[in-house]
């Protein structure tokens, strides 16, 4: 967009668009922040300290991976298994970057900062829009709104759950599996993904008594994906 050629009417239109984008970004930030409360509570229940829970939200900043890391640790898994599970789940953010790179057009330090904000929500909000200027604004506004509220909510959730003598009385140990289910449900779009789900779940259970805690998740997922990658029909059409 060339600013000098924009008529006043376009400026008014852009002001309206900008207002709408910022409002949507804030709404996404608030709803994601609410889910940060559950992350903070789950992390405290798993035995993470407040600094550890906060470090995850500040430095890892990708919800599913944070839940996975905490889940593996809660299950008695080794730190390396926990880190590997979180990283594999975070690999999907690389594919968001693929679509965002042309929109953002960042180079150098700007790209390193933008990368930290590449998550489900900011990517969805940016790629929903056709106008590059709007996309860029949606990415940054959503990323910053989610970052701020997610981190505040993590502290609130961790402090709240940390005050309880036994968080399992409130059923908080059921929060993590429910969170994974809630993240999985929208991905179950066809027979291929259902088959993957059943195979990975069955394999993880079968491996549980025979390998150290945390390893069944990694092993089951990698084995199932290795098979699925060889057979184009197994996962349906690529996104």
């Amino acid at each position: 967009m060339d600013r000098t050629s924009a008529a006043p009417a376009d400026d008014a239109g852009w002001a309206r668009q900008r207002h709408r984008v910022l409002r949507d970004a804030l709404a996404v930030g608030v709803s994601t922040g609410a889910y940060g409360l559950s992350f903070g509570a789950v992390a405290a229940t798993a035995g993470l300290s407040l600094p550890q829970a906060s470090a995850l939200s500040l430095l890892m900043f990708t919800g599913a991976s944070q839940f996975a890391l905490v889940g593996v640790i809660a299950g008695g898994g080794a730190p390396l298994a926990a880190a590997a599970t979180a990283t594999l789940l975070g690999a999907r953010n690389a594919f968001y970057g693929l679509r965002l790179a042309s929109v953002l057009g960042q180079r150098g330090p700007g790209r390193l900062l933008a990368a930290h904000l590449v998550i489900d929500e900011s990517s969805a909000m940016a790629t929903l829009r056709d106008d590059p200027r709007e996309s860029r604004l949606a990415f940054w506004a959503t990323g910053v709104a989610v970052f701020v509220l997610w981190n505040l909510a993590t502290v609130a959730g961790a402090v709240g759950a940390g005050r309880l003598a036994d968080p399992t009385v409130l059923g908080l140990d059921a929060a993590a599996p429910a969170a994974f289910l809630a993240l999985l449900a929208p991905r179950l779009r066809d027979r291929g993904t259902w088959a993957l789900t059943a195979a990975a779940a069955a394999l993880a259970l079968a491996l549980t008594p025979v390998v150290p805690a945390g390893v069944p998740i990694l092993a089951a997922a990698l084995l199932v994906v290795a098979v699925a990658a060889r057979r184009p029909s197994a996962t349906g059409a690529a996104r």
Binding site: S49, I73, R187, A198, L205, T235, A238
Partner: protein
């Protein structure tokens, strides 16, 4: 040791984010890579759901978490939002523990 997991996991996740913005698009656009990208989160999340629900360490355990997950499945089928699914599961598990 938890700190090692936190920092190593954070480094791994950040590396994935930077890679997405930096590697040549044709690498990530490869059909096989695309299939892995769709399948990996599904398989990991499925394995996490079952292990977090019915295992403790290396043993299989059926407790209030299973009731929580059953309620979560119903909520997910009704297309409830994320937080409703989590809170419903938590409340169900708490209720089971209260009455048993």
């Amino acid at each position: 040791m938890i700190w090692f997991a936190v920092l190593a996991g954070a480094a791994g996740c950040y590396a994935a984010k930077v890679a997405g913005l930096s590697v040549p698009p044709r690498v990530l656009a490869d059909p096989r890579v695309q299939r892995v990208a769709v399948a990996l989160p599904v398989a990991l999340l499925a394995a996490l759901v079952v292990t977090q629900t019915v295992t403790t360490g290396r043993t299989l355990v059926l407790d209030a978490r299973a009731a929580g997950l059953a309620v979560a499945v119903v909520a997910a089928l009704l297309r409830a939002p994320f937080l409703v699914i989590v809170v419903a599961a938590t409340a169900a598990a708490a209720l089971i523990r209260l009455v048993t």
